[in-house]
C-alpha cells in the first residue's frame, strides 16, 4: 500500500490539476494514458479504447453519504457532471442539474473489486470458456489477462447490479507467475479494450502455496513443494535482474523477451504485484524474497492468515485483499476466521474486501457487513463508513488508481452508487449506478439494465424478465 501510494504521487498531482471541470468525457484527461510496461513497445501492446458514455449534470441530495475514505455525511448531497464529481457536502449547487431526492437512501462511491476473473472465466463456465490459467508452465509473466477477457460475460452486468464500477481481472493462481492483470471499468464494450481503464497500471499476478505445487508437482515437474515454489520464484527474479542490467548497458535494439518485459516492469516499479498467498508463513517468505530482489508486493490476495501477521503487513505497507468468511476448502484455508478483515483494519493496515468469484462480486457490500459484524462482536469499534474503505479507497490504492476513483471527492471520476437503503443491510440494493457520470444501471428503468449478447433471446434474458 505504501509503495502504491508513493508511486501514485505524480499521478495524484496530475489528477488534482485537472479538476476544473468542463470535460465531457472521463477520458479526455490525461491526454495520452500511459500504460506502464517493461518497454515502450509493451505500452503500445494494449491501448484503452474506453470512452465514458454521455451523462447529465446530476445532483443527489438528502442522502447518507459514505465517501469511501472513511467519512460520512448525513443529509448530504453530491453533484457530478462531465463525468467527474463536482461537489460533495451538506448541500451542493443544484443549478442546471437533474435532481434526485434520496431521502432514506445512501450514496457511496462505486465498489472496486481488486480480484475478479470475470471475462477470463465467464458464464457459462464451459471448458471452451476456461481462459484464466495459462497452465502450460509455472512461469508465465508474458500472458495478459486482458487478452482472455470476453466482454460479453453476463457476469459484468450482474456485478454492475451489485454496485461494482471498477474491477481488476487477474489470471488464475496455477502459476507462480500468472501474468498481467488488467483494471476494467465495468461498462460493457464490444472489445476488452473498450473496458480497459485508462491510466491504470498493470499488475503482475503471482501465487504461492498449494496451487502451483499441486498443478506442476502432479506432472512430476517443478515446483512440487513450497520450497520449490520459492526456489523457482527466486531464480526467475534473478533472471529478471540480469535482463534489466543487460538492457541498461545494451547498445541498439535487443531481442525482445515478453516474460522479462513484465518482470522488469515490476522491478522498475511500474507494474504492481498482486500476490495470491494464504498462509502467514508463506507471506513472510515472499516478503523476504521481494526484498532480496528489490520489488514490492502491493497486496496479498486471499491471505486467509493475514490476521496472524497484521503487524508485519502493516509495517511493510502491504494490503490484504480478503474474503469475509471463506475457509476450509483446502488445507491452506483451514485457519480462516470471520474477523480477518476487521482485524487487519484494527491493526491499522489496509484491508480490502475482494470476491474472486462471479457470485461474490455481486454482494461485496454484504461480505463487508458480515465481517464488520464479527469484528464488532470481538469488541472492535469500526464505523460503517470506515468499513466502506475496504470496498473503495483501499482497493483503489492497491490498484494504483486512487487518484481517479475510490472516493467521492471533487475531480474524481463520477462512479457513484445510489442505494435504496443502508448498503450494509441484507435488504438493500443499488438503485442506480453511474460510471463516469453515465447512468448505466437503474432498477426503475429496464432500459438502463444491460443484457449481454450471450443472454439475448435466452430464457429470462439476462435475469431481466
Amino acid at each position: 500500500m505504501r509503495i502504491a501510494a508513493i508511486g501514485l504521487l505524480a499521478a495524484l498531482l496530475a489528477g488534482c490539476a485537472t479538476t476544473g471541470g468542463g470535460q465531457t468525457s472521463a477520458t479526455s484527461t490525461p491526454p495520452s494514458p500511459s500504460l506502464p510496461g517493461g518497454s515502450p513497445d509493451a505500452e503500445a501492446a494494449v491501448a484503452s479504447t474506453y470512452r465514458a458514455w454521455p451523462g447529465v449534470p446530476t445532483v443527489i441530495r438528502n442522502v447518507t453519504i459514505y465517501d469511501g475514505k472513511g467519512g460520512r455525511i448525513d443529509n448530504g448531497a453530491v453533484r457530478f457532471e462531465g463525468g467527474k464529481l463536482a461537489a460533495v457536502g451538506r448541500s451542493v449547487d443544484e443549478a442546471g442539474a437533474t435532481v434526485i431526492d434520496g431521502a432514506g437512501k445512501w450514496v457511496t462511491p462505486g465498489i472496486i473489486d481488486i480480484h475478479s476473473h470475470l471475462g477470463d472465466y465467464p458464464s457459462p463456465g464451459v471448458p471452451a470458456h476456461s481462459d484464466g490459467n495459462e497452465i502450460t508452465g509455472p512461469v508465465r509473466p508474458e500472458v495478459w489477462a486482458i487478452h482472455s477477457v470476453w466482454p460479453q460475460d453476463p457476469g459484468f452486468g450482474r456485478a454492475l447490479a451489485g454496485g461494482v464500477t471498477v474491477l481488476h481481472v487477474l489470471p488464475g493462481s496455477a502459476n507462480l507467475f500468472g501474468g498481467r492483470g488488467a483494471t476494467l471499468k465495468n461498462v460493457y464494450g464490444r472489445t476488452a479494450q473498450d473496458m480497459l481503464m485508462p491510466g491504470a497500471p498493470w499488475s503482475l499476478k503471482m501465487a504461492c502455496g498449494e496451487n502451483p505445487k499441486r498443478v506442476y508437482g502432479s506432472r512430476n515437474q517443478m515446483p512440487g513443494t513450497r520450497m520449490g515454489n520459492v526456489a523457482m520464484t527466486r531464480q526467475t527474479w534473478a533472471n529478471a535482474r540480469d535482463y534489466q542490467a543487460k538492457l541498461k548497458t545494451a547498445k541498439g535494439p535487443q531481442k525482445r523477451d515478453m516474460q522479462m518485459e513484465t518482470l522488469a516492469g515490476v522491478l522498475d516499479g511500474k507494474i504492481l504485484v498482486q500476490h495470491h498467498c494464504y498462509r502467514a508463513d508463506e507471506m513472510a517468505n515472499i516478503i523476504q524474497l521481494s526484498k532480496e530482489f528489490g520489488y514490492k508486493v502491493t497486496a496479498f490476495h486471499h491471505a486467509v492468515e493475514a490476521y496472524k501477521i497484521n503487524d508485519l503487513l502493516k509495517a511493510e505497507g502491504i494490503c490484504a485483499a480478503l474474503w469475509a468468511d471463506w475457509w476450509g476448502f483446502k488445507m491452506e484455508s483451514y485457519d480462516g476466521i470471520q474477523e480477518n478483515l476487521p482485524f487487519m483494519h484494527a491493526a491499522g493496515g489496509c484491508a480490502i474486501t475482494h470476491s474472486d468469484d462471479a457470485d461474490g462480486i455481486q454482494r461485496l457490500n454484504q461480505e463487508t457487513a458480515k465481517a464488520l459484524g464479527h469484528g464488532r462482536r470481538m469488541g472492535l469499534e469500526i464505523r460503517d463508513e470506515e468499513a466502506w474503505t475496504w470496498l473503495a479507497i483501499n482497493p483503489a490504492k492497491a490498484l494504483g488508481i486512487a487518484d481517479k476513483v475510490g472516493s467521492l471527492e471533487p475531480g474524481k471520476q463520477a462512479d457513484v452508487v445510489l442505494w435504496n437503503g443502508d448498503p450494509l443491510s441484507v435488504y438493500s440494493r443499488p438503485e442506480k449506478v453511474w460510471v463516469d457520470g453515465a447512468l448505466l444501471y437503474d432498477t426503475n428503468d429496464p432500459k438502463r439494465r444491460p443484457v449481454s449478447d450471450f443472454e439475448l433471446g435466452q430464457p429470462g434474458e439476462g435475469d431481466r424478465k
Binding site: D325, K330, D335, F343, K370, V426, Y427
Partner: protein, 434 residues
C-alpha cells in the same frame, strides 16, 4: 422403518438428559413460524421441548432459569435444507471428504451416516451461527445415484444422526448425463432401469441377470431403491433446466410411491405451475442468478419467489460444497429473498416466508414435525439473536438445542481470540495462548 426408530432412540439417549434445564426466554420478539411474531413473548422450555409460548407478561413458573431477551429476537433454530455437515472436514483433502466415492461399485446403497463425524469442526462453526439441524446429502461419485443422506441435529454431544437413510439423492441434467455416459437419454435409461430393478425386488422377484453388464444394478443398490419406491424415504433429484424438471416430474407418475423433491431447479420458475400441480417441493440455494451452465441459462434471483407464488413449497439449502455459499449464511440468503421482493420487477419472499424457508419448510419436507416451529411439544431448538436474524451484522447470542444451551465456541473463535488485535505478546508464543 424399525431401523429408523431404533436409530432415533439411540440418538435421543445419547444426549445428556441431565443438561436439559428448564429455561424461560422472556422479553424478545418471538418468531414461532405459526402466526405473527409475539413482541415480548415468553418461551418456556423443559425436558428438551418447548413447553409453552406465551404473550408478553406470561408468568414464569418457579424453577426456570430466565434468559432475558429484551430487544432481541427469539426463533426456532435454522435448519439447513441441504448441507454437508459431518461428512467432510477439508473438501480439498480427499482423505477427509466422504461425500462421494468415485471408485466404489456401490451407488444408491451408500449410506452417508457411515461417514458422520461428530468432531468435524464445521459443526460448531454452523451451530454458533444458529444452525441447529441440517439435511446432509452425498455427492454423486460413479453414478447419478449418489446414495442416501441423513438428518443431523447439530447439538454438541450428538453421536448419531437424528435420522439415518433419510433420503436418496439423484442427479439428472448435465451432471447426470455425464455420469450416465454422455447424454440425458442415457441418464434416463439408467434411472428407469434402476427403478425397474427395485420394482422387481419389491414384487418378490430375483435380481435380474439378463441385462447387459453396464445396465445391471447391484442387488444392494436395487434394494436401497425399494425404499424410494415404497415412499419410505423421499427421492431428491437435482435438475436445473425447465425441460429436465418436466422429465423428472414424470417419475412420480410412473412410480406412484415416489415422494419426489426437486433440488436446485434454477429454471423452476419456467415450469412453476407444473411443479406446484405435482405437489413437489423444492430445495434450492436461491442465490444463483447467472447462466453458469447451459442447463441454468434462465437462473434468476426471482426463482424462489416465483416458485412460492405458484404454490410450491420451497426450502433453502446448499446443494454443493462450495465455499462461496455456506450453510451458516443461509439466514442471509433468506434475507436476499426478502430484498428481491422489494426490487421493481423482482419476485421474492415475505420475511415470514423467508424465515420459514430456512426452518419450518425444510422440516416439513422431511417430515420433522416437531422441528422448525415454536409451539408446545416442539423440540426446543431455539436461538436468541442480537437482532433480525436475516441481517448481516446480527449474531446468535444463545443457541439451545433439544433444551440444552450450546457452547458458542468453535475452532475459529479460538483462533480469533488467540490473534486478537491489541493482545499482549510478551511472555510466550501464541501457541501457548488458549
Amino acid at each position: 422403518m424399525r431401523k429408523l426408530l431404533l436409530a432415533l432412540l439411540l440418538a435421543a439417549s445419547s444426549q445428556a438428559v441431565a443438561q436439559q434445564e428448564r429455561i424461560a426466554i422472556t422479553g424478545g420478539k418471538v418468531v414461532t413460524n405459526g402466526g405473527a411474531p409475539i413482541e415480548g413473548g415468553v418461551v418456556l422450555i423443559s425436558g428438551g421441548s418447548v413447553e409453552r409460548v406465551g404473550p408478553a407478561g406470561t408468568a414464569v413458573p418457579a424453577g426456570y432459569r430466565v434468559i432475558d431477551a429484551n430487544g432481541k429476537w427469539v426463533t426456532p433454530g435454522i435448519i439447513a435444507g441441504l448441507s454437508q455437515f459431518g461428512a467432510v472436514e477439508v473438501s480439498g483433502v480427499s482423505s477427509s471428504n466422504d461425500l462421494s466415492a468415485r471408485q466404489s461399485p456401490a451407488t444408491a446403497a451408500l449410506m452417508l451416516e457411515g461417514a458422520f463425524n461428530p468432531n468435524e469442526t464445521s459443526i460448531p462453526v454452523g451451530r454458533i451461527e444458529g444452525v441447529t439441524a441440517a439435511i446432509v446429502g452425498p455427492s454423486p461419485g460413479r453414478s447419478l445415484f449418489a446414495g442416501q443422506g441423513y438428518v443431523l441435529s447439530l447439538a454438541d454431544g450428538t453421536t448419531e444422526p437424528l435420522r439415518p437413510r433419510a433420503f436418496q439423492y439423484l442427479v439428472y441434467g448435465e451432471r447426470g448425463a455425464s455420469l450416465a455416459g454422455g447424454s440425458r437419454p442415457a441418464a434416463w435409461i439408467e434411472i428407469t432401469n434402476a427403478l425397474e430393478e427395485a420394482q422387481r425386488l419389491l414384487k418378490g422377484g430375483a435380481p435380474s441377470r439378463d441385462q447387459s453388464r453396464d445396465l445391471r444394478l447391484a442387488p444392494e443398490d436395487a434394494q436401497a431403491l425399494t425404499l424410494v419406491l415404497r415412499g419410505a424415504q423421499p427421492l431428491l433429484v437435482r435438475a436445473e433446466r425447465a425441460s429436465d424438471i418436466r422429465q423428472v416430474l414424470k417419475l412420480p407418475r410412473m412410480y406412484p410411491g415416489i415422494r419426489l423433491v426437486l433440488v436446485s431447479a434454477n429454471e423452476g420458475w419456467l415450469v412453476a405451475d407444473e411443479i406446484a400441480r405435482a405437489g413437489v417441493p423444492v430445495i434450492t440455494l436461491g442465490m444463483n442468478n447467472r447462466p453458469d451452465s447451459f442447463e441454468a441459462i434462465g437462473s434468476t434471483m426471482s426463482n424462489v419467489g416465483r416458485l412460492a407464488a405458484a404454490g410450491v413449497k420451497v426450502a433453502l439449502g446448499v446443494p454443493d460444497l462450495d465455499v462461496s455459499f455456506q450453510p451458516r449464511n443461509l439466514p442471509h440468503y433468506a434475507g436476499n429473498m426478502v430484498a428481491q421482493a422489494r426490487l421493481p420487477g423482482g419476485v421474492g419472499l415475505s420475511w415470514d416466508q423467508a424465515f420459514a424457508a430456512i426452518s419450518r419448510t425444510p422440516a416439513e419436507i422431511f417430515g420433522l414435525s416437531d422441528m422448525g416451529v415454536l409451539k408446545p411439544g416442539a423440540a426446543a431448538d431455539v436461538v436468541v439473536w442480537s437482532g433480525d436474524p436475516l441481517e448481516l451484522t446480527t449474531h446468535a447470542e444463545q443457541v439451545i438445542i433439544r433444551g440444552v444451551p450450546q457452547s458458542l465456541e468453535s475452532r475459529q473463535t479460538q483462533l480469533a481470540r488467540r490473534y486478537q488485535p491489541g493482545r499482549e505478546r510478551t511472555q510466550l508464543p501464541e501457541a501457548y495462548s488458549r
